[in-house]
Homo-oligomer: 457 residues x 2
């Protein structure tokens, strides 16, 4: 596939190598799709910054023992080793992070003395999980996260603020409508306690599988392995079947008859989130949502693309009171993560999102002959100086061929240098319109300057 | 360090965990530095797009056998395995890429039928090498690459075009001046042949170590292990000592007396690059430059930051005729890679580059009391709708404290909601100037809207 080349020789051996093929679970885009992906990431970043989040990037690796303490994902961690690592070289025991929350919690602990709290950060990076690849589930995938972390305490109004920020961000993209489903783990834990369920952690993890194994499957697991009585399982499943507004949540709690501090606190937090986001029309309570990750403690979120529910959640998160703890300090946080790769894979495959063109250049400067390259580069330089992306033609082929090349590349304008004493001309190759133009003053229409994001039909 | 939390409990066990410490070789920045890094990457990307390069991202992993065929870096490759990988699961034999050139060559082979050639791409990603960390040399580091690849052939004028693009990009940053050193491996190979040197590959790799082991060291290795006669080694080292303009290169070739096709071709290519870039004043020939990687075949580049030469090359690359080959097709390329992490680590450490502030928000909306949060959020929304980044104060503490918080976070303006019937006010907390303002029309000065990149003093 690749040639190990010897200096001075352009070929390596005589056997033709086969072309490489994609690696399952490691998606790569063509440039046009990457342009669209970048525009999506730019849009998210702009929105996050408008809401005062600051950027953080963490290294790709974390100490393995930290990754492995986070529960169900441990079997999916990619472990690193140096090919020729010596004993005790200090880089044993590293793994690739499987999300951006665990690394961020570590970053907060490591840098707490240099941060101001509540600390609001966004983080847009790949993460890796060795899962079996399937639709919308990759081994390498981009996430775009926002989190707010406090020192010692974090007010509950931030739970709603995270939703308002992420809804603002998503609303800037040409997407199908989204629906965010919210629940509160304290509320569900309180209901479980009230129902006499003992293994609450296992119960919540089982509830999270409703989508996968259904009510009958979940009920069986609850009774057989989570220590629920049949009556408790039925009551819990009835509670979890409720979704809707704050009134529906209150009615569901009343129906079970549950009370106590956990239930009261969880209910109040959930209602506060619903009240603060009611104006968006995009947030509902769903008492079945628990999230698989054990570190969530209160509010939890999942997000569906309306009409594409089978894709699963494209944007999830919640409140974690104790993920970041050291030296007796606790840094409670709340955050949400947009599964950018999952979202885009569906949008691209469905023709629902695209870039307006595959080229960054708006103009191709045609080359009359190779001797004119320096003059053509000067024209390109004059256009670039005013922010217009330009390529100079790679070869001085016939103008007809240069125009076809521009068309194939998706570059909308071709610039023809004038003969001495004559004006330059620029042609819109879509309409064929050609006009005299000066490189120090001409500009393309604003919508043609850069590729844009376009939604599906 | 991290707490595995149980649902409903905010603490995990009783022993206080120590704070995590940084991993050597895996740099992470504070938000202010990350803001600066992002502005640097934005600037590079903008410049690359102005020159018609399109974005590509490749997965972080490549099949190990391809990474290992690339010569000297093989011992530094990070190998991956899934923690609970089954036999024959298909993800054995993956490693993290150590540069962006090898993955890009693979990407071109894999997608050739869907690309238009010459294909111009930029790629900005981390890469990983298990090297011993030292100043400017990291285990995880960001690179920003541009390459142009042809199908079957690629005109030599692209060798200069790459330099003009990267110099334009670097000139947009507040950097110390850069000096690009150019050589041509064909020319050096031709001179070696003329001098009767047989192990040319080893000779070039040895010459590349002049910076590290000096003339005496290189001479010893050339004579003892690369099969050079003492006279040939001296002649080659005399040739390699030359740097300067095209005239100096021609004089050096004449001094050795070398000729033949390789020498003629290499000399013509080198002179063409020098001629096309002479106007920049930043490019000189340096006949000692060979680059360590075997895949380079013609033009090679290295770049120094003037006054910071000991940092090594911050921007390197060259022509590779045969890196991408399959099915009897060859895709020759030329490219250059900016070592962003190496560059920034020096600039940050030296106080030579910074962001104008650590906050993305330009305005903090002060909160008179918790009941006013919805009203304050509405003010924030009105400002954001006009592109102004805003935070609402996290708590309704005394205004004096909210102003101090804004100052500590680096947010330049504090917005005070007016009492009913009174106008809102906005204060520049640097000057203390406070004026009446309307959220639907007020804007901060353009230079305060977003953090900016500022050079050192």
């Amino acid at each position: 596939m690749f040639a190990r080349t010897k200096p001075g020789s352009a070929t390596s051996d005589d056997s033709p190598m086969p072309r490489p093929t994609p690696l399952s679970g490691f998606p790569e885009w063509l440039p046009r799709q990457r342009i669209a992906e970048q525009l999506v990431l730019d849009t998210l970043r702009t929105a996050f910054e408008l809401h005062g989040f600051v950027p953080v990037q963490t290294r790709a690796v974390e100490p393995l023992e930290q990754l492995l303490s986070k529960g169900e994902t441990s079997k999916e961690v990619y472990v690193l080793r140096r090919l020729q690592a010596e004993e005790g070289s200090g880089d044993a025991g590293l793994g690739l992070h499987f999300d951006l929350t665990v690394p961020f919690a570590r970053y907060v602990l490591e840098n707490a003395g240099k941060l101001t709290f509540p600390f609001r950060r966004y983080q847009i990076q790949p993460a890796w999980r060795g899962e079996r690849p399937q639709e919308g589930r990759f081994r390498e995938f981009w996430q775009a996260d926002i989190d707010i972390v406090g020192d010692g305490e974090l007010a509950t109004h931030h739970d709603a603020e995270i939703l308002l920020a992420v809804l603002d961000a998503l609303s800037r993209l040409p997407l199908p409508p989204v629906r965010i489903r919210v629940n509160n783990r304290r509320l569900v834990q309180g209901v479980c306690q009230f129902l006499g369920i003992t293994d609450i952690e296992q119960t919540l993890r089982t509830l999270d599988k409703l989508d996968k194994i259904g009510v009958v499957g979940v009920r069986a697991v609850l009774v057989e392995t989570a220590g629920c009585s049949a009556g408790a399982a039925d009551a819990l499943l009835g509670f979890a079947a409720v979704s809707g507004d704050a009134g529906a949540v209150r009615a569901a709690v009343a129906e079970v008859g549950a009370g106590g501090e956990l239930v009261e606190t969880g209910l109040a937090e959930l209602v506060a989130v619903l009240d603060a986001t009611v104006g968006t029309g995009a947030v509902i309570a769903d008492l079945a949502i628990t999230r698989g990750l054990d570190y969530y403690t209160g509010t939890v979120y999942e997000t569906q693309l309306v009409g594409h529910e089978q894709l699963g959640s494209i944007c999830s998160g919640g409140r974690y009171e104790a993920l970041a703890q050291a030296d007796g300090h606790t840094y409670p946080g709340v955050g949400i993560s947009i599964g950018v790769s999952r979202l885009l894979s569906r949008l691209f495959a469905g023709g629902l999102l695209d870039a307006s063109r595959a080229a960054t250049a708006a103009v191709l400067v045609a080359l009359p002959d190779e001797q004119s390259r320096a003059a053509c580069s000067a024209i390109a330089g004059a256009l670039r100086a005013r922010g217009i992306p330009v390529e100079v033609s790679a070869s001085a082929s016939r103008y007809g061929k240069q125009i076809r090349d521009s068309d194939r590349r998706g570059i909308p304008f071709v610039w023809f240098p004038g003969a001495p004493g004559e004006s330059d001309q620029v042609r819109d190759i879509r309409s064929g319109d050609q006009v005299p133009a000066d490189a120090t003053s001409w500009s393309p229409p604003a919508e043609d300057l850069h590729p844009r994001l376009v939604g599906g039909t």
